[in-house]
Symmetry: C2
Subunit: 377 residues, 2 copies
Amino acid sequence: MKLLRRSILMLGLGLTSFVASADTDTIKTRWADVKVDTVASGLNHPWGLAFLGDGRMLVTERAGNLRIVAADGSVGEPISGLPEIKVRGQGGLFDLRLSPNFSNDNLIYFSYSEPETAGSDITSTAVARARLENNKLHDVKVIFSQQPKVMGGRHYGGRLAFSANGDFLFIGLGDHGHRQDDVQKLDNHTGKLVRIHPDGSVPKSNPFVNQADAKPEIWSYGHRNIQGMDIQPTTGQLWTVEHGPQGGDEVNMPKAGLNYGWPVITHGEQYGGGEVGIGFKKDGMEQPIWHWTPSIAVSGVAFYQGSQFPQWQGNLLATGLKGQQVARLEVNGDHIIHQETLNLKRRIREVKVSPDGSIYLLTDEPKGAILRLSAVK
Amino acid sequence: MKLLRRSILMLGLGLTSFVASADTDTIKTRWADVKVDTVASGLNHPWGLAFLGDGRMLVTERAGNLRIVAADGSVGEPISGLPEIKVRGQGGLFDLRLSPNFSNDNLIYFSYSEPETAGSDITSTAVARARLENNKLHDVKVIFSQQPKVMGGRHYGGRLAFSANGDFLFIGLGDHGHRQDDVQKLDNHTGKLVRIHPDGSVPKSNPFVNQADAKPEIWSYGHRNIQGMDIQPTTGQLWTVEHGPQGGDEVNMPKAGLNYGWPVITHGEQYGGGEVGIGFKKDGMEQPIWHWTPSIAVSGVAFYQGSQFPQWQGNLLATGLKGQQVARLEVNGDHIIHQETLNLKRRIREVKVSPDGSIYLLTDEPKGAILRLSAVK
Ligand SMILES: [Ca+2]
Ligand SMILES: [Ca+2]
């Protein structure tokens, strides 16, 4: 398609030569020339992706559908049996993860904007699990529902991650955009990172289980809008990314019970602009490990492991919506020591490393695509 | 001058309007619009700068002169009494620092390429101290001389820094370019960071004073070419920057007795390229806090403190030669959490924060300048 368009353009300019290779599909980076292929297209704001292990992928569309994409890129019919999802603003169907025991139990976990009652605009982020069989969900069970539900359709968070041992499910949440006053309080799930067991029960080891008036599901707080999460393979530690207000997109490594500062401190502009409100730092509040200012509108993250890009082992890949990029962050211990930017020229929602070491991206577009990054041999 | 040139250019293009403000002299940054003024010019590869406290500055030229620059920018005659300096390749007069007790003792410390015998091309980096009086140096004493001296005119290091209490002088050194085999051995000063007392004696607390065959002046080793050094005001910790081979310029926080990896590990290309030699990491060798890949040819560093740029408190400013920039690095504890690049469009050798909080830069040019960065009000 790209070749064709370019040829037409060149003819239009009175040129006759034919361009044999589309160099726009290759990104030169420090350690590798990266080939960008389109695996599938026509997905309505794809948001989450899981590899099914047999070449097929399970993909969510924010517009409210869950589909299987075959290895050849053909997109299946919507999987039936989803609960009611409120598709409005930033709300819709968000992330999905396979059960750590998927090959035996066929369970999947997914997050979405859940209306208070059928059709209501009062929503919050919920997580359900269900058994996937014959393109249909069975035994759907809501295992978490963010409290309180509120009007408005922004800052749902919605990213999911299982702990390395599979015993815990982390759920990244947001502040709804207009409920910042709740974020520093522990009696609600607004602007929180939550940790539950996969059956929805609350782990006894959660930091606030014995604190009166605190929601026991809370793992950490002071988050604005968690958009990406992944477990670091070498340490088992959860890393998250979240959106800043205007600049100040953050990378964090949330620890039990700690406060990540929103809306009191930020490296973005809302509180740190010309006048300087409370500013960047405050005792008792954690600093980010890294921030992007100006913002890239950071979305998904994944630690790289694989044979396609041997120099990238252990790097954290972070995607940007507005930033239209993959940021390759070199990690040493608990900090970043270098950043390289891969310019994709499309809004990128999520990144996953496939079993063969190639990297899959979802584009945030009404006719969104699955892209694959692999090394030019 | 810039205005004039632009006007002439515009007239040449048949334009008649007059540009009232030269916006090329302002750099827009996240937190401030930065005005760039030329304080002085006509300096032959200026390398080091110290504020004398009365508005005057002491400046080294790599070409072998030490001069006083008045507050109005007029450049004084060369100060007499310097020892013999071998000006060749990267060699010449390097850094200078005032004695911590300068207002009483009038002592200065400076580093330079010292020939083995008069006129010899066999050189190494030496540090001398002298009393400055009436544009003349008195009682010049060489307090350190890097061993061994070798042929070749590259990778001298040469940056100096006093510890916060003034009891210790750090001297950053290099590997001479072709003496990498010496860098991991402790019986020489090649590729080392050295710590001495200001009188040249060896501190009893140095890490290798009791190790047979080790040079007792060594503080840390495995450095390729230390180009910038500053003490972090809030912690008293020394931070250094050094050049990588081809990419992999580093920020380090050298601790006593530790190994910073050169030439065994690097984030640059020499050992990490297509083939991957030993690579990025090795047990017993420290990782950099930050690296620039591709290289900016990092030169000077200074921690910012001052009233001109209130949002930059505690930031580490690092200059680039090839990179023609000031990199503003936001520091949290012992790591970098954000970088912003100020494009100066000239090779920058060194950065110093002046008593009024404006930032002075030296350009690395045969007719080099002192530039001042201040906030546009
Ligand atoms: Ca934060
Ligand atoms: Ca190193």
